[in-house]
Amino acid sequence: MRMPKKSKSGKHYTLGHRLSDAFPRFFAFMLDWASWGYVAYGVMYLLNKYWYVRHVNFYGTLTLPVWGWPVVIISTFELALISHVLGQSIGLQMRGLRLYGPDYTSPTLSMRLRRWATAHLVLIAQPFAVLFGSRKPGLLLHDRDATGYMVDVYRTKDDLPFEKPTRWYQTYRGLFIVFLLSLTFWLGWKITTINLRMLIDRISKSGHIWKDLVTPNFSYLTEDVIPGRTFSILYYMLETMFMAFFATVSGAIVAFPLSFLGARNIMGFNAFGWVIYSVMRTLFNALRSIESILMAVMFAVWVGFGNPFAGAMALFLHTIAALAKLYSEQVEAVDKGPLEAMAATGARRWQIVIYGVIPQIIPSFLAFTLYRWDINIRMATVIALVGGGGIGTLLFYFKNEVGRLDDAWNQVGAVIVAIIIVVWVLDYISARVREKIG
């Protein structure tokens, strides 16, 4: 049984309600406006590429005149508004909003056009109406015109009349999305200067490299490259594997307790828990967004260029963030039934975690840790690029010798083969182990 919205204080349509009604519409409109703005950008870009540079001024760039900006802003606004009132808006679809006439009938064209006109009239007044407006439930400013209501389909699903769902290609909205995607593909092709002709025409340029790479020279497999300064492939390979192993194991040990602090179902029992949860989540996301290669730059400066300690620290930090995020999502996805049953026996919160949560998450924790080890091995091979140590040191050493050494590419080939073998073997092992656990 549903009830009309009513706030605790007894007022019918409080600021909170008005904001929660207004925000999705605002968001939806902004999305539409932005998508039409994107179309305008695309049109400008393609005009430049296909017409201006070719036929007007090869060295110039087509730019908007001063009066062009207001024209574009206003016309995209109008297009967004029209798609809004015609019920063809992507934003409204995304937020589950739909325009209805009185008594949930489909609005007629004249109603839609009237709504389009009133939307202009209330443009400035609308924010004030949201802040200080009516107490009548569900009425934002231009809904009072009674030409139509914006209805939140998800929130009021039960009351809505059944409508036959339309396929995406039957609506302008769906076709517009397809148009946006194709535009993006076209723009992407142009902006990244993809040129298939060049790829084929200049195949001979890199031909000898391929030949050298597939005939690797393993003379430095066990022998130091420069005695006393640069070691053998095998030595660096071991260094890489231990670097990844250290980062994964210690990262997992730190991430395990943190993941419970970042899980909503464990922490969401009071305000204090929510604060910890939010802080942890923000921390994970912030740490995770810094690629380990960037962290390695910092640590290489800190502890010394080429020191594997730098690479290990970079991988360690990134592993904590990545694993804690994955772990906490697993913690949030546990079957709540057993937890409920244990709470019903009078168990303490942490007893429920130990007996109810941990047994459920152990297999996926192990699987994620192994998977992370996999990623860390692959990361460890390139982290030397910025001075993080490991097998990459040799990779880039030989690559930089190209021109000075005749067989530099063959040496690079040997390093690559070693990397491939190790990655492949470890990948196979971790896949088998994950299979066993799952």
Partner: protein
């Protein structure tokens, strides 16, 4: 019951009138009455804020010690919510619940845990930790009593392990003790659930649709364990059931809910065709489980 406005539970919460407007009986009579009431629910209301749904609407009833109370009602009538409100797995919006004279709704966390130890619960989906052994699952019924430090490192008292084996023997599956819980059949899993509940030495057993996920024959065997607890150990049972035939066979009293309100309260024999239609709707046909 058309609108939110007609529900006065919130007002009552502020000024609870146990007699509901009736003149109160003498003090001594009230004390005597309260003594054999294990549970006394007054004006219990639950509103799910998110969906703005009124799940329980001003429900009041009492359960006497030793009763086998059956809750009847369609899906969504509020049976599960009612059971979960009794041990506050779900926080009631308004109303009072007295368990053996103690106010559950006002209990502080520690007191609530101590109250929950006395009320066991079994579930429709069994709610076992699937990857843990049967024995560990049974032992988890004892968590509320265990020494917290020892339980943190999975160290159990010998007495607890013996009790767990004894409860498993009582439900007839001692040989399954070291298997993983998800290796067992549905009926066996529910027996583990009962064994877990037995570990609490409960005064009240709440069963939330304990046999809905089971076939009729297994359903009867599970219900018979509940009956045994009720009759031999004197445990009060509240079970929510779907089938009227099961309710007639096992219940000593029936409480029927519809749209969060009590529509029938009385002995199983009193439910005739009209009452049945009132509870289950006009189109319902009675189906028997043998």
């Amino acid at each position: 019951m058309s609108q939110f406005g007609t529900n006065q539970a919130a007002e009552r919460k502020l000024n609870i009138d146990a007699g509901g407007g009736q003149p109160l009986p003498r003090f001594s009579q009230r004390v005597l009455a309260i003594m054999d009431d294990l549970i006394r629910v007054e004006h219990l209301t639950k509103i799910y804020e998110r969906g703005e749904v009124l799940a329980l609407n001003d429900v009041s009833f009492t359960v006497k010690k030793g009763e086998f109370l059956v809750l009847l009602g369609l899906s969504g009538s509020g049976k599960s919510t009612l059971l979960r409100c009794l041990n506050r797995l779900i926080e009631p919006t308004a109303g009072t619940i007295l368990f053996d004279g103690e106010d559950v709704t006002k209990a502080q966390p520690k007191q609530l845990r101590h109250l929950r130890r006395r009320m066991a619960m079994i579930f429709q989906q069994f709610n076992l930790v699937k990857r843990s052994s049967v024995l560990t699952n049974v032992l988890s019924g004892r968590l509320g009593y265990m020494n917290p430090g020892a339980s943190a490192i999975h160290k159990y008292a010998k007495q607890d392990v013996d009790d767990a084996m004894a409860s498993l023997e009582r439900v007839g599956i001692p040989e399954q003790a070291y298997k993983r819980a998800d290796e067992l059949s549905g009926g066996q899993q529910q027996r583990v659930g009962i064994a877990r509940a037995l570990m609490q030495n409960p005064e009240l057993m709440m069963a939330d649709e304990p046999v809905s996920a089971l076939d009729p024959a297994t359903a009867h065997s599970i219900m018979q364990y509940l009956e045994l607890m009720n009759q031999e150990d004197g445990v009060t049972v509240i079970a929510s059931l779907h089938f009227l035939s099961l309710a007639r066979r096992y219940g000593t009293r029936i409480l029927a809910l519809k749209d969060g309100q009590i529509v029938f309260e009385g002995s199983p024999a009193e439910i005739d065709k009209d009452k049945f239609k009132e509870i289950y709707g006009e189109d319902a046909e009675e189906v028997e489980v043998r």
